[in-house]
């Protein structure tokens, strides 16, 4: 219901914008249809900001004249119930019933992989927004799939670049026991051992996803007496881990390096309990002061009355990229669109990004910094933006990672 009201409002905004701007998209022109799939019902904490992001992008694009010389973008959005099987049914509906020109979206890695395989099987373009798994573009990569968000490998590599200079050698890891956690720990150990042959890993904890037994896990980590901890837990597990770890003094005198914890989605719930000093990847949304980013934040706040989150940026950049690709391609033929997106440079609120031809990964980066508590809320300090180019392997290296003939 709420979303209906909001959509109507946005539509209203678009109409008003259309009336004032002489070059708005021609509503009578055949729209370019994009089939969009995400876990709105089950993972609203992440996908709501994402939806707001892409809705803002679509509204701005259409108000500014649409794509392909006046055709509006039309997004048909479906919920995937956080299940690959349901996502595949939705993809089938979008493609076969609504004849969409391309597919976009997804948050969970398994849903993203399922849709990417569907795209290859049905020879349709898929622009994946949020899934993190490296398999998406490397081991399971295919000709039809592109991915925007910096991957598990990229974000881990950004952390290693700084963690390798820390004066510690005894590391412990804690990660949810499934593909994401296992990949992150594997990459971290490999890259750390390469950069610092003297480090040793003294303990590993593998809590089941969203079933972290925080007290016992914290006690087991503490018993191994590490000098530093690499944390991959997130969301509900992160909240429990931080609270128990703080109460039991686990983080005192120890370095903690943590994936994604600086993203507003994960940081906001922690509030005043944000663990100061953690080295994290994230998005210091309120502190980035470039003209492009300011414009994005102002438009977002005008539309929704709140600050964007990481998902908002991802949703916005996904659809801005799609529009740029369509204009570069000139039509909606799948092969033409793929050729246009390969190597395309797109202007985004965080600066220009490039969609790599070699592995179809965008060079969107992330911010790395230390957590601090200010005015009862967590935020990132001493942060810097690490562009994707800085951590992605060169084209020659990724070709060996991808299946042949893709």
């Amino acid at each position: 219901m709420l979303s209906f009201v909001r959509k109507t409002l946005l539509l209203g905004l678009a109409v008003v914008a259309g009336a004032t701007a002489s070059h708005a998209a021609d509503p009578s022109a055949e729209p370019v249809r994009i089939g969009e799939i995400n876990s709105y019902a089950r993972l609203g904490a992440f996908t709501e900001p994402y939806r707001k992001g892409w809705e803002l992008a679509v509204q701005q694009i259409n108000a500014a004249g649409g794509v392909l010389g006046g055709r509006p973008l039309e997004v048909i959005s479906r919920d995937d119930n956080a299940s690959p099987a349901d996502a595949l049914r939705a993809a089938g509906e979008l493609l076969n019933r609504h004849q969409v020109d391309l597919l976009a979206g997804t948050f969970l890695s398994n849903v993203g992989l399922a849709v990417s395989d569907f795209a290859a099987h049905n020879k349709v373009l898929f622009v994946a927004a949020e899934p993190l798994t490296d398999a998406m573009i490397w081991e399971k990569g295919n000709h039809y799939t592109f991915r925007l968000r910096p991957s598990t490998y990229m974000q881990t590599a950004m952390l290693v670049a700084q963690a390798k200079d820390l004066p510690v050698t005894r590391w412990a890891t804690v990660a949810p026991n499934y593909e994401y956690g296992q990949s992150a720990v594997r990459v971290f150990k490999t890259l750390m051992s390469e950069a610092r042959p003297d480090v040793e890993f003294v303990a590993e904890q593998w809590p089941a996803l969203f079933k972290l037994d925080a007290g016992a896990t914290v006690a087991a980590l503490e018993a191994a007496q590490p000098e530093a901890i690499f944390n991959v837990t997130f969301s509900a597990d992160l909240g429990k881990f931080v609270r128990e770890g703080t109460t039991r003094g686990l983080f005192e005198g120890r370095e903690v390096v943590s994936l994604l914890s600086g993203e507003p989605e994960y940081l906001e719930p922690l509030g005043a309990e944000t663990p100061a000093g953690w080295l994290v990847t994230g998005y210091p949304v309120a502190q980035i002061d470039t003209p492009e980013h300011r414009a994005f934040v102002e438009a977002y706040q005008a539309a929704y009355g709140e600050l964007p989150k990481m998902g908002s940026m991802v949703g916005y950049n996904t659809f801005v990229s799609i529009a740029a690709m369509l204009d570069a391609a000139g039509d909606t033929d799948t092969e033409t669109m793929i050729a246009a997106l390969e190597g395309l440079e797109v202007k985004t609120p965080l600066g220009p990004i490039t969609w790599r031809e070699s592995d179809h990964q965008s060079t969107m980066g992330a911010w790395v910094g230390r957590l601090e508590v200010k005015d009862g809320a967590g935020r990132m300090a001493d942060w810097s933006y690490v562009p994707g180019e800085a951590v992605l392997p060169p084209a020659s290296a990724v070709e060996a990672l991808r299946p042949s003939g893709q």
């Binding site: 690959p84 395989d117 904890q205 079933k211 007290g215 006690a219 087991a220």
Partner: protein, 610 residues
């Protein structure tokens, strides 16, 4: 490993045990008196937690902890009065279905009221610090929790053994009809017990606030663990629930030390082990636990469908045959999925409706069939048809295994063992990335060229899945089907007639496994991929819901149930993000209006008793 660390892990285990116990105690009481497996119990826990967080700003933490549980008890009372009481006469599984509908609705209501973002709850004032025990920090709050468990246990023990109400509760748990005969209204008694159970779940949720991150998935997370505790302790035994909670809490705390990768499976390994050694749990009573399908209630005799019904089924069959001419790729895709789910539901109906064996983990067979087929293709390069057969065979084998291991178990205990079995398989699929691809699954498993056209694959599905549904319906009328129905309604008499009860039950599980496994394999090639979700709790629940919507004893009802559930889901999910609220509400309405399932509609229309 130093002593201090062992002591700390012991305390950690006890603190977790208290949390688990509060939820499990209520679940156990409700089952003991009402024979209801309350799927909404995790939702009541979640409401307790959210209401506490909502009340804290107004009244402070400790007052909120005291106020939220009575509110949850009131909500529980409403659920009992408005939904469970009107269907008190229906087979007990329907009450499970109704509470499942409630849990769907609560999950969405929580998102609507409190938002989807995680909430890290407030700390407990006065107990937010830690004390040093043997040089290690232990949160004060944990020490309080450790005391709360035994205190609540003591209170419940006094209530049950020293008060008149408690006496009646125990009497009702032994023999509900006798309480009725003694002039006590068992409805009011059950109402009270349900509210008490809700109160305990609410208290569990309220006390979990300083240790949990609140999110709308808490309900499912809690309910599965609580089921395990209740079963290990013995259904209906409050003391057993505490013992089991301590056992599982300690297994977790020390499991983390020695098997950090295996935390997901430990609970269910304990549960499977306990059930194999003690078929009624650690402290469960041997007697007084009739089968969950209805105990004394005997299912209506099977009849033919009549001329009108026959005509309608013929029409449906013609429709399914003509579908490739009428529908596009997407329509055939949805229809094929519906047929596969119907075969899955029909296999459960064979087990439950015909043979009287309840399974809460039927996804084990479906998923095993799917994974076996997928692994044959992925690792060994087999073709689709041999892979489908291998999947079916693997699931049949699992049925035989479960039948042998669980042969001594009755009713709900076997249902729970099957749940443990499914959860173990799910953990393997989720965590053994090398074999199964883990959460990322196995992809690229599309049908070969001859079946790649949606019409061809639909035809194959219609032949195999549709054939399985029709075959099972026909088999129910054969002597074998009659023998199964005999032992479902009265195992003792069936045995006296010379029927091999144990052997028949095993054969039923093998057949159900084979059909569910075939359906799982077909599902994999329909989707071109397989993910751990096919082994998950949600998949098992889907099978139960489809079977019950169609009607427990209505042959072919699985087809109706699958069509209704799948249709409602696709329609609701296409229309709104809050499809769980819509779907849950519709399930509750359907259960209350049609306790015999959709398949009983015809019988009702014809004026016969349902």
């Amino acid at each position: 490993m130093d002593l201090g660390f062992l002591v700390i892990q012991f305390l950690n285990g006890l603190a977790s045990a208290s949390s688990l116990f509060l939820v499990a105690a209520g679940l156990s009481l409700i089952f003991g008196v009402g024979r209801i497996v309350n799927f909404a119990h995790g939702s009541l826990f979640m409401l307790g937690a959210y209401l506490t967080v909502a009340l804290v700003p107004a009244v402070g933490f400790w007052a909120a902890v005291l106020l939220a549980p009575p509110l949850v008890a009131l909500i529980g009372g409403l659920i009992e009065r408005l939904i469970l009481r009107p269907i008190a006469g229906a087979p007990e599984l329907f009450q499970l279905l109704a509470t499942f509908g409630v849990s769907l609705m609560v999950a969405d209501v929580v998102i609507l009221v409190w938002g989807a973002a995680d909430i890290v709850g407030p700390r407990a004032p006065g107990l937010d610090g830690a004390v040093s025990v043997l040089g290690k920090a232990v949160p004060l709050y944990d020490l309080m929790l450790i005391a709360v468990g035994p205190a609540v246990l003591g209170g419940l023990w006094l209530l049950l053994t020293r008060t008149r109400a408690g006496l009646l509760v125990r009497a009702a748990a032994e023999d509900r009809d006798m309480v009725d005969a003694l002039g006590r209204d068992p409805k009011r008694l059950f109402s009270g017990v349900f509210m008490l159970g809700a109160l305990l779940a609410g208290l569990g949720g309220a006390l979990a606030v300083p240790r949990e991150t609140l999110h709308s998935g808490l309900d499912l997370q809690v309910i599965v663990e609580a089921f395990a505790v209740v079963v290990v302790g013995g259904m209906g035994s409050v003391g057993g629930a505490y013992g089991a909670a301590v056992l599982i809490g300690l297994v977790h705390a020390f499991g983390i030390v020695w098997f950090p990768e295996a935390t997901l499976v430990l609970t269910f390994l304990v549960m499977a082990l306990v059930l194999m050694l003690r078929p009624h749990g650690l402290f469960g009573a041997r007697a007084g636990l009739p089968a969950a399908t209805g105990g004394a209630a005997v299912a209506p005799p099977l009849t033919g469908v009549g001329r009108l019904g026959g005509g309608l089924w013929l029409l449906a069959a013609l429709g399914l045959l003509a579908a490739p001419l009428l529908l596009g790729a997407y329509g055939l895709d949805v229809l094929a999925e519906m047929l596969i789910l119907a075969a899955f539901a029909a296999s459960l109906q064979w087990l439950t409706g015909v043979a009287g064996i309840v399974s809460f983990g039927h996804a084990a067979f479906f998923g095993l069939g799917g994974y076996a087929a997928a692994l044959m293709v992925h690792h060994l390069g087999w073709g689709m048809i041999p892979a489908l057969l291998a999947g079916s065979a693997a699931a049949a084998l699992a049925g035989a295994l479960l039948g042998r291991v669980g042969g001594r178990l009755s009713g709900v205990y076997l249902a729970m063992l099957s749940l443990a079995f499914a959860e173990l398989l799910h953990a393997v699929a989720f965590q053994w990335v090398g074999l199964t691809g883990g959460d990322n699954g196995l992809i690229g498993l599309w049908p070969p060229a001859w079946a790649a056209d949606p019409r061809a694959y639909y035809g194959l599905t219609l032949l195999l899945a549709g054939g399985a549904v029709a075959g099972l319906a026909g088999l129910a009328f054969t002597p074998h089907g009659r023998a199964l129905r005999a032992l479902r309604d009265h195992p003792v008499r069936a045995a006296a007639l010379g029927l091999d009860v144990a052997g028949l039950r095993r054969r039923a599980m093998v057949l159900a496994g084979a059909v569910a496994g075939l359906a799982g394999g077909l599902f994999v090639f329909l989707k071109g991929s397989v993910f751990p979700g096919v082994l998950g709790v949600a998949m098992s629940v889907d099978a139960l819901v489809m079977m019950l919507l169609g009607g427990l004893h209505a042959l072919g009802g699985a087809l109706l149930g699958a069509a209704a559930y799948q249709g409602l889901f696709v329609a609701a999910a296409t229309l709104t993000d809050h499809w769980r609220l819509v779907l849950g509400g519709l399930i509750v309405l359907l259960v209350v209006a049609l306790p015999g399932g959709l398949g009983s509609l015809g019988r009702r229309l014809r004026g016969r008793s349902a």
